[in-house]
Subunit: 114 residues, 3 copies
């Protein structure tokens, strides 16, 4: 009834219920990089997780994006807009918030369909 | 299986799956106004979106409200409390966060039932 | 179709739809206490609410945690890691944000399965 992927003590990378998948907050692969590269590698991780559970970026339902500084809003959006498949954009909210580590510039929470 | 409304490259205004609708983050119609007017027009936009997909404010499941300053918490709540239909209040969380534009004082993410 | 628990004008403590329960943002029982005690009593309230609707911490799908200061991240996680049942961790995101009252150090939004 509930299916979990890559479950550790603190969180699962993905949790599936009712044909809906909830991803844990994804951040950049390398947090020393700039907002463009952080957004690119963050979204690559989203792709991998979605693919692992049989979903894809065509099936995003909702995305909540946290940026450390709204000064990075345009640069983040440039990567985001190129990544979203035309005609398949999710509902989205984006607010400013700091993350678990000082150097992280962007994080995303995703809900997708299977 | 997934139904989207007003889909642009960056986001869809509403995404429907499993009889559940996810709205994109809604903000005031006119961001030059005060917190009371911003909350009123933000919730008018929620009404319109919900109505467009066959839902309504009676069917809210969850709302996440971001306020730029907790100094506006009471004024926002006064509008919110009057807007929520008696007996139909959603689960709600409200935290402080800045939004995409400096002048925005409040934003809401909504999940509702169809 | 939609079932609500402890509904007041502003929010319901829990809203159920499609075998999924959305909890309102939970905070500490006593906000004068430190991050460890605030996290413990916040999660006790999550337990109570989930139990009241026939769910449990074994059925968490997604958790969004807001901490007032990332300086409290480790102390919050120590409580969290001990609370999550092994093999049942939800998807999770954690960002820094202030809450409705100055003294609140942590808040959690939960989506769970019934």
């Amino acid at each position: 009834m509930i299916d979990r992927k890559e479950t550790k003590q603190r969180m699962s990378r993905a949790v599936i219920h009712n044909n809906t998948v909830y991803l844990c907050g994804q951040v950049a692969k390398d947090s020393s990089e700039d907002i463009t590269r952080q957004t690119i590698t963050m979204l690559e991780k989203v792709d991998t997780l979605l693919s692992d559970v049989g979903s894809s970026r065509e099936k995003l339902l909702s995305a909540t994006i946290y940026v450390k500084s709204m000064n990075d809003f345009q640069a983040m959006n440039a990567v985001w807009d190129a990544w979203v498949p035309e005609g398949h954009a999710p509902a989205r909210a984006c607010v400013e918030a700091s993350m678990a580590r000082e150097e992280l510039l962007v994080e995303i929470s995703v809900i997708a369909a299977l």
